[in-house]
Symmetry: C2
């Protein structure tokens, strides 16, 4: 059977496909795999308890069950949740957002598919525009989302070596050139895969550049403040009328409900609502109903700060320690873990590619993600792109520790 251009583009072997297949099968089929790969959130007991209570409450009343499952939300998403989010953000940060500035989607990935293709690609006047990633490495999931090829462009970062084994990427503003072929600037903050928090200064500069060029700044806030708040240092939330801020319920512990939240200029969010109708009728409603009271009460922020953040911070600290113990004598560096649920490991003298390292580890039952997938849009050759891996520390401690030991053995064999 033959496929269209679109079909061929979207059925190529993509990094995100390999990652999600590994993840799904490790979590549901072969539970012996050490899942240090995809970004499944951890099993946070305090969060599970809250969801359990919420489900039990809903299950008491047929009318609540019907509201949870039996109704299509409008294409913009659940009206009550949107109203509660507007109030939450305006109360917390004194933002001026209104209901028209918010659109819900079937998860962040769908939001980015719509956003990128709404703004980048072929224009009716024959021009072609791209999304600019000012800092790579950047999220693997973006890489294949264009309905046409080559809709991304990216710059190499500046690398700051810190106290060993740590390093940190910074936006290299000298390399960043924006012209009228750029449709938007996009960053994830905390960055997936590195856990990097762009500094306030970097964000302010990017905002200024975006405004000067009359293009929006997209901030992927899937791990950020105020929820799920998997951030280990001070993070000033950022939004203004030129910002498209993308959030998600996944990392709160609800990946299965596929609920993304976009806060942006009304022109953008209303375009997303229209696309929701055509692409999917209506976004998933279950997630909205499940978290509605948490958003209305503001508890979603408290739980994030008091339950979710400490859970991941402890795991992060333990994992760094296990790596330092197991990797002693090896040539490696760790990106300063400032947020998200990943460590980004750099092996400057790796004798094989990161993809080959991934394959060897997979054979030994350890899933990680090869770093080479995390440079979407970067056209320069750069050895660094084949010297890194992303590992998550969100899963069971014993599994993470054993995985690190096997990784150390494998690196020593090399």
């Amino acid at each position: 059977m033959k496929f269209s251009q679109f079909g061929l583009k979207f059925t190529q072997d993509a990094g995100i496909l390999s990652l999600m297949e590994d993840l799904g099968h490790a979590l549901t089929v072969n539970q012996n795999m050490m899942m240090l790969g995809g970004g499944n959130p951890g099993k946070v007991p305090g969060v599970v308890r809250i969801l359990q209570k919420r489900l039990a409450d809903i299950a008491k009343d047929p009318e609540s069950v019907y509201r949870l499952l039996g109704i299509y939300d409008p294409p913009q998403g659940n009206v009550k949740l949107i109203r509660a989010l507007v109030k939450l953000f305006n109360d917390l940060y004194e933002w001026p957002i209104q209901e028209e500035n918010v659109c819900l989607t079937n998860g962040s990935q769908s939001a980015f598919f719509m956003l990128f293709n709404l703004m980048a690609g072929q224009y009716p006047d024959e021009s072609f525009k791209k999304i600019q990633f000012p800092l790579t490495p950047e999220y693997i999931g973006y890489a294949d989302e264009g309905i046409t090829p080559h809709i991304f462009t990216a710059s190499k970062p500046r690398i700051e070596m810190q106290n060993p084994p740590f390093f940190k990427y910074h936006v290299d503003f000298d390399r960043l050139s924006i012209d009228d072929r750029v449709a938007a600037i996009c960053v994830s903050r905390p960055t997936n895969p590195t856990g990097n928090m762009l500094t306030d200064d970097e964000i302010n500069k990017l905002d200024r550049i975006a405004r000067e060029n009359q293009i929006p700044l997209i901030i992927d806030n899937a791990y950020g403040v105020p929820f799920p708040q998997i951030v280990y240092q001070k993070a000033t939330p950022f939004w203004n009328d030129n910002t498209i801020l993308c959030m998600s319920l996944s990392k709160l512990g609800l990946p299965s409900v596929r609920t993304g939240i976009v806060i942006g200029p009304a022109e953008i969010t209303q375009a997303l609502a229209k696309m929701n109708a055509i692409l999917t009728l209506s976004p998933v409603g279950v997630g909205s109903q499940l978290v509605l009271d948490l958003v209305e009460s503001g508890d979603i922020c408290r739980i994030s700060r008091e339950v979710i953040q400490p859970f991941y911070r402890t795991k992060m600290q333990q994992t760094v320690q296990w790596i330092q113990d197991a990797f002693s004598g090896l040539d490696y560096a760790i990106h300063q873990p400032e947020g998200a649920m990943f460590l980004w490991l750099w092996f400057p003298n790796l004798p094989v590619s990161s993809l080959e390292l991934y394959e060897r580890l997979k054979q030994k039952g350890v899933l990680v993600v090869s770093g080479h997938y995390f440079f979407p849009g970067l056209s320069e050759d750069w050895d660094h792109t084949a010297q890194c891996i992303r590992m998550t520390y969100s899963q069971e401690n014993t599994m993470v520790k054993r995985g690190i030991e096997i990784m150390a053995e494998t690196l020593r064999e090399l």
Copy 2:
């Protein structure tokens, strides 16, 4: 802000957008509207009770709560549900499907977006292929799903006048011409909007034509057998290795979980799994977990037959009677209601367009859907397309009855 070609295409005012906005707002915001518009399933008490029990059971056990909400499924969908569906269909119908023949999606609408664009549109060799609808009227939701314009082609039906007030559309095989510009044949069965059941003879002929032309036959089975089985006459289920059968959990009473099921050649379903990964990471998992035991036990078919089908059949019969009472003396016809949850009303001498009738009814608090949206791909002029409306009888009886009375008044004024 300027949008790309793709952006402009998907932010046009689409029929499905108008429908879903009306529906969502009527069900969640302005509950005084008489919602005879979009296809929200009804509140079936027996189904709500089953879902309520299932939620209560899950809520008893933190591990079950985590499995329901906390895990990304693989891109192909929940492995256990796929396994159970394969067994269900093979046991029921002696089909030869395997797990690789099944892919879950974020609802049927997403499945059709992927399927249509996978097969139709621009090909690398510069050819351009289309989806053929052999019978119009056909589903409104298809109309805007192409990433390029003009990916649909359609034929006028043959109209059989039955005992008044009934009529029925048939595929006009004399008008149906397939050549190498057609990528697939697609029908909904029962048909949305008309409630028409294509006869076994029609399906067999379409299957033969598809095979002769080496293109697949897509059957949209959202309302069909074995679930939700909203079918009021004998319906022989149809699948072979050239069929792409699309199903959904929505009309069972779960529209909010956005879960579609595609059963087709592995080449197609595996392509959909890859597209799922890129477009949305992983399909919604909640719906799969909620219905897993119903599919494993086969109860999903029993509930459909014993609870869901009688609920809609009774409503349909009542609604037809109310129309016959209220419309007495008016010039109208009803498509023979053989399934789904709609009546398709034809007003051969309507002095205004169906869109104008929709507007007038909306002003009086009655939502219906203008029939002109239901002829995607039909290029011939045909007065009939502006003479029909679709109304659903899935909602509260008093609302449906009052809506019909207001419709009768409005038609008399005209």
